[in-house]
């Protein structure tokens, strides 16, 4: 099962782009909180509209020209009971003039719209940080629901922080009193009041949000929210806020020129799959079954029917992948999207796509496992399932996206590999990048090079398992093509005729051919680039997937402190890049941070026979920069 390691020869394939280059504000390391960046966390009940507040704050920051990163963190229940700790919804956003890659470990500002939100989030706030609370909600009943014995606003629990107590509830109701809303509906505007205040803190106007409210809502809903927003902003401007409340001055970031938009990984991954299909000249067929956190891709693609995207909500994950296989057999690009438990169900069918050598992209938006696990939390624990989780010797390429923006390019790469080698490809994302928003510089049109698909139409000399000598791909034939009628299936077939064959030597030959596709892919990979740092040194940090931001910041800081640390971020996880072993040989230590119990480390050890230091965390949360920094510090003292 050793991954093929041929000599590096081929040129850089399409859609390979250094990760750092893709980022806005690349290169400038963020160091000083409240100068380079401010981290703010909105938290409240899941009915408080926290996610909306967060996305609007992100959009405003984008328009202002900051770099930023976000981390939405919401409860597993649709609407958990009001006021409970498990009903708390939070949205973290890190706004900077420097390169921002993570939502930040410890907020500089926490806005807590009820006691439960304070209870859940307080521990994260940095010492000396600002805590804004809606004291109108700190009633006995709500304190009890949150599990507080006393009132933390009174008992000194907030001693290590600056506290701004406002009766936001009352202030909001006052702001909207003219609209004749009941108490319940009136309080729904709390989030806009809060947003107004926070915008004021950052010295921003409310125009962008106003415009947005105008576009999305009408009548009383629009007007009451507008009123609350403006009132919150005005409150900051006109009231004498205690000296504890500094305003933040985060100038626009120096970002690479280009057109930007705010994206989540769910969007970019969906668009990338479609873009890949378009570049290949194929219709896109998505077979999917809803599952958190993959459903948003189904939703995004379902809205793209007029762009030629067919989405099929199947009865289950098995039907979803089988329909995608049927679509690929019919000459479309078949795609299926799911998360861990759903991908597990697809295991057998992936084998069919391998055996029949059809292109297929399987997207796994990873979440906390095992089993149902933590559906709304992020994790990277499906890597070994992706690489090894099938009966028989049944390997497929595995690719992982590092950032929301990177999802777009990875999706195109997955499509390209699937078609070029007639193979299923596993594309890994996770709950964090699927939901997190970041500003994304749109790719240049010139970088989108078509790779048109050639279907076989010539009957002369045809057989369905004839192979291309380089890619080992078999011909792709659309049923309906005259003169090419043939039969395929999951039973072993003859290398020469494609008919069923039970011959021992033939099975070996076919197994070798299937595994040979991996060798061919490895051979074509572009030489590895180092994301940050030299190609040799003290410590190489090898990462994959959504830990990119945390690693990049930690390595950037270590380098700023003069340490010989480099960051290598793998997009291609299987086959591993053939030059990885040589590259890592130039480092004294190899650190592999992962949100699992050490799965990439396992692959590196078996493939490279190189000892690596596995640094893992399985908590349903992204890495904190500090966690990685600590490992680096211990190795470079």
């Amino acid at each position: 099962m050793t991954a093929p390691t041929p000599p590096v020869t081929a040129p850089a394939p399409a859609a390979v782009q250094a990760l750092a280059g893709r980022r806005a504000a690349a290169g400038r390391v963020s160091l000083t909180p409240e100068v380079d960046f401010v981290r703010i966390r909105f938290a409240g009940d899941s009915g408080d509209g926290i996610q909306l507040t967060g996305t609007r704050m992100a959009a405003s920051s984008a328009q202002f020209g900051n770099d930023f990163a976000t981390f939405p963190d919401y409860p597993a229940e649709i609407r958990a009971p009001v006021g409970t700790t498990y009903g708390v919804s939070a949205y973290s956003i890190n706004i900077g003039q420097t390169e921002i890659l993570t939502a930040g470990d410890s907020p500089d500002v926490l806005v807590a719209l009820n006691p439960a939100a304070l209870k859940v989030n307080l521990a994260d706030v940095r010492d000396g940080g600002l805590v804004v609370v809606d004291e109108g909600t700190f009633t006995d009943r709500d304190l009890k629901k949150a599990g507080y014995d006393g009132n933390p606003l009174e008992d000194g629990s907030l001693g290590r922080h600056r506290v701004l107590r406002l009766d936001i509830s009352a202030l909001t109701l006052a702001a909207v009193k003219d609209f004749g809303l009941g108490q319940k509906d009136g309080l729904r505007c709390k989030n806009m009041w809060t947003l107004g205040l926070v915008l004021w803190m950052f010295g921003r106007g409310t125009e962008a949000v106003e415009a947005w409210l105008g576009r999305k809502f009408k009548d009383t809903v629009r007007d009451s929210n507008l009123a609350a927003l403006k009132a919150g902003h005005a409150y900051g401007e006109t009231m004498e806020l205690s000296g504890d409340v500094r305003r933040f001055d985060i100038p626009a970031a120096q970002v690479a020129p280009g057109t930007y938009r705010t994206v989540t990984g769910a969007e970019t991954l969906s668009w990338g799959l479609w873009a890949g299909a378009r570049l290949a000249g194929l219709p896109l067929f998505l077979g999917s079954y809803p599952i958190t956190p993959a459903s948003s891709m189904l939703h995004t693609l379902a809205r793209m029917k007029d762009r030629g995207v067919t989405t099929f909500q199947a009865e289950d994950e098995i039907a979803a992948i089988c329909a995608a296989i049927g679509a690929s057999y019919g000459g479309a690009l078949g795609v299926t999207t799911s998360s861990g438990p759903g991908v597990a169900l697809k295991t057998e069918a992936i084998g069919l796509a391998i055996a029949t050598e059809l292109p297929l992209v399987i997207v796994d938006v990873q979440r906390g496992g095992p089993s149902t696990g933590l559906p709304t939390k992020t994790e990277q624990a499906d890597l070994l399932q992706a690489v090894y989780g099938r009966n028989g010797d049944a390997q497929i390429p595995v690719i992982a996206a590092a950032t929301p923006g990177d999802c777009f390019h990875c999706a195109i790469e997955a499509v390209r590999l699937a078609i070029r080698h007639m193979t299923p490809v596993m594309l890994l994302s996770d709950g964090y990048i699927a939901n997190a928003a970041e500003p994304w510089r749109l790719p240049a049109m010139e970088s989108l090079t078509p790779f048109p698909t050639t279907f076989r139409t010539e009957p002369q000399g045809f057989h369905p398992f004839l192979r291309d000598a380089d890619t080992l791909a078999r011909p792709w034939v659309k049923p309906g093509t005259p003169g090419l009628a043939h039969r395929i299936g999951g039973i072993e077939k003859d290398y020469d005729s494609g008919n069923i064959s039970y011959s021992p030597a033939n099975h070996q030959r076919m197994t070798d051919a299937r595994m040979g596709k991996l060798t061919a892919i490895a051979r074509d990979l572009a030489p590895l680039t180092v994301d940050q740092g030299e190609r040799s040194g003290e410590v190489a940090v090898v990462g994959w997937g959504s830990t990119y931001g945390a690693i990049r910041v930690a390595v950037g800081r270590a380098r700023a402190a003069g340490k010989a640390v480099s960051h290598i971020h793998l997009r291609h996880l299987w086959p591993l890049p053939p030059d990885l072993g040589d590259l890592l040989a130039g480092f004294r230590h190899v650190v592999v941070p992962e949100l699992n119990t050490g799965q990439l480390a396992t692959l590196l050890r078996s493939e490279l026979l190189r000892d690596v230091r596995s640094h893992t965390k399985v908590q349903g949360q992204p890495f904190k920069v500090a966690e990685i920094a600590a490992v680096l510090a211990s190795l470079t003292e």
Partner: protein, 341 residues
């Protein structure tokens, strides 16, 4: 492109037979079904290049290898799902699904259910031999209670499913029944299934000579058949029996069907119900009948066309010639963007 003959000639069953040796047991009912299909296809204007057979796993599911059409031998139970993706992608193809009572109703029951519910235009042939043939004779979900098999040495204890009743319960809009050796009727049923736009479900009673021989003797045996089989035809009175004098009538007590003899007890031909294939409830009643008390109903039990799924599900075709990169940029720019100079 492709080999095209100038003067189109009439196709025959031979044009639909592949070059592979047929590998079923000698005497297996599958042979007769294969012949019937190969003979019927030319008669309905099908061509090998525009026809696809999709199957699961089982003796019956080997079917595609013996057809000179396109064919996909998938995995156990999943043929309806694979065929769904294919048909949506390529609605001009004639897509046939071949499955068994194990493949289509045990492991594949859910896909069958939903393919029927969605009414996707597939012609589904379920070879019901009331046994798992390929895996050497375990009882299946259609085996009668008490079936002794390697996995039920003391006799099976689960009540069997009635495939056509199940299909109607799933909302199928075309449900028919045929038999492997009913060489005259089976092709007619196949033609009707093909003509029906939407999911067509055909149960074909099939004899497994090795593991369940003679399961349908009462129905296929020339001696007993007349009294135990009713061939229904839309608009025709439902008469059967050696002398054609037995008929289905409304049950005198309660709600349902009964067998009566014309000329006896004052029953006249007018009392005999006329088959209405558009009546789903009647279909359910007919599908559930079984000898010895009732006849086995063969032919088109229910046919009530409705919108078929693939057309509505499928995205409009994007002109192939378009500029892909420009289209992609258009998508990326559709939304809130800002430009840094």
């Amino acid at each position: 492109m492709g080999i095209q003959s100038d003067t189109p000639r009439l196709l025959t069953d031979k044009d639909f037979a592949s070059d592979q040796d047929v590998r079923w047991c000698p005497g297996c009912g599958d042979y007769a079904i294969l012949k019937a299909v190969q003979r019927t296809l030319p008669q309905i204007g099908a061509t090998p290049d525009t026809t696809v057979f999709v199957s699961g796993i089982g003796c019956s599911s080997r079917f595609p290898y013996y057809m000179a059409t396109y064919g996909f031998h998938t995995i156990h139970g999943r043929a309806p799902a694979v065929a769904t993706g294919l048909k949506i992608t390529n609605p001009d193809l004639d897509v046939w699904v071949v499955t068994g009572d194990g493949d289509g109703l045990s492991i594949g029951g859910n896909h069958m259910l939903h393919a029927l519910r969605r009414n996707i235009d597939l012609n589904i042939l379920l070879f019901n031999n009331e046994i798992y043939g390929l895996t050497k004779g375990q009882y299946s979900p259609t085996s009668p209670c008490g079936t002794r098999s390697p996995s039920s040495p003391g006799g099976s204890v689960d009540a069997p499913l009635m495939p056509c009743v199940f299909a109607l319960g799933a909302g199928a809009r075309f449900v028919a029944r045929g038999g492997d050796t009913l060489l005259k009727q089976l092709p007619e049923v196949l033609k009707r299934a093909h003509a029906h736009k939407g999911a067509s479900f055909v149960e074909i009673l099939q004899n497994c000579v090795i593991y369940n021989p003679g399961a349908f003797d009462a129905v296929t045996d020339k001696k007993t058949a007349p009294d135990s089989v009713l061939f229904v035809e839309h608009g025709k009175p439902m008469l059967f029996g050696r002398d054609g004098r037995k008929g289905l009538v409304r049950s005198p007590d309660g709600f349902g069907l009964a067998v009566a003899t014309v000329g006896e007890n004052g029953v006249t031909e007018a009392d005999v119900l006329v088959h209405d294939e558009t009546n789903r409830l009647l279909g359910m009643a007919l599908a559930a009948l079984r000898p010895p008390l009732f006849p086995m109903v063969m032919g088109v039990i229910h046919c009530a066309p409705g919108d078929s799924f693939e057309t509505a599900c499928r995205a409009p075709e994007v002109p192939a010639g378009g500029d892909a990169a420009a289209d992609i940029m258009a998508l990326l720019h559709a939304g809130d963007t800002w430009t840094v100079p």
